[in-house]
Symmetry: C2
């Protein structure tokens, strides 16, 4: 499983065998079942997770009890509540598996140590965080300035591979609409 | 003006004199007046900006013509449309000065070169992007799961120094409410 992470880092950075071994030593593997949680709001996030296989969702619950999906994570991406993880404060995210998923977990002291001591590893995370800002910026802009139909059209274009994997109700929650409204939008777009 | 940026980087990284000189050579200074724009949606973002002094806002305009403030930037922070800047595609952000502001500008090829060649500079940007993700994550969570009153209370706690500098109408736009509703919230909170 760790080979998937090493291959992902190697897309961006050249690592020596010694560095690869150091990185291997800092992660542990975990398989979680569909519907299982790796984080719940209110507890401190112990691990940041690389998804070797599978699919998870990060969501928040508002005071009325409504769930809002923030993002989905699939293989070769990272998922976690970064604010809680780096500050070691209570999480605001719930993170739950939508499929049986294989994860590689690392704690904050090890992640900081690897970023401080292996230049290629820090380079990789600079790029991951850069992508993270760009992706959240777009999500924020869409949330604030696009209609539900425009947001759905963007979603289809950007994440066609997710449409078959993620239940409609979770896509609706990501788009900030009801499953019924999403169903109506799908019919409208299909009939165009 | 460039000394402010060097001092900011030096909070996170040790730089040699040669590296400092290389960084100096890659930026140019610009003073912009209140209400002036450094970026408009639809054009490609040429520069990423370090704010040496002043205050700016990044906002989007929806199809009804309503402005939505995404974030405010003050001295010792960065502002720009990262997605447009790194991909050299059309910007979605407008960026406008709320005060006369002193900026340090860098283009994408120079920023990439500095990150690739000066380890301390990449370390600094790894941390800037990491903070960026954490901050956008919180903004997203608040937007999706908190009431307007809760969002305002968070804003007061997190950015007390901005309350006097930023017009109420722009704070209202950031919070996603009307200026009238913000005025009502302020009276309610003051009278508690």
């Amino acid at each position: 499983m760790i080979n998937k992470l090493i291959a992902h880092i190697s897309r961006f950075s050249n690592l020596t065998d010694k560095e690869i071994q150091e990185i291997r030593n800092c992660f542990h593997e975990k398989v979680i079942q569909k519907k299982e949680f790796i984080l719940k709001a209110g507890v401190v996030s112990t691990y940041e997770c690389f998804i070797a296989d599978g699919c998870l969702r990060a969501f928040v619950i508002d005071e009325k009890g409504t769930e809002h999906n923030i993002r989905f994570g699939i293989e070769n991406s990272w998922i976690g509540d970064l604010d809680s993880f780096f500050k070691q404060t209570s999480a605001t995210y719930y993170i739950q598996a939508l499929e049986t998923s294989s994860l590689l977990l690392i704690d904050v002291s090890k992640l900081n140590r690897l970023m401080d001591t292996i230049q290629g590893f820090e380079h990789y995370f600079r790029i991951m965080f850069q992508y993270g800002v760009m992706s959240l910026q777009l999500r924020m802009v869409q949330e604030l300035s696009l209609t539900a139909e425009q947001r759905y059209t963007h979603f289809i274009k950007k994440y066609p591979h997710l449409l078959q994997r993620i239940p409609q109700k979770h896509i609706a929650s990501y788009l900030g609409i009801t499953p019924e409204f999403l169903s109506m939008l799908r019919k409208k777009i299909t009939s165009k």
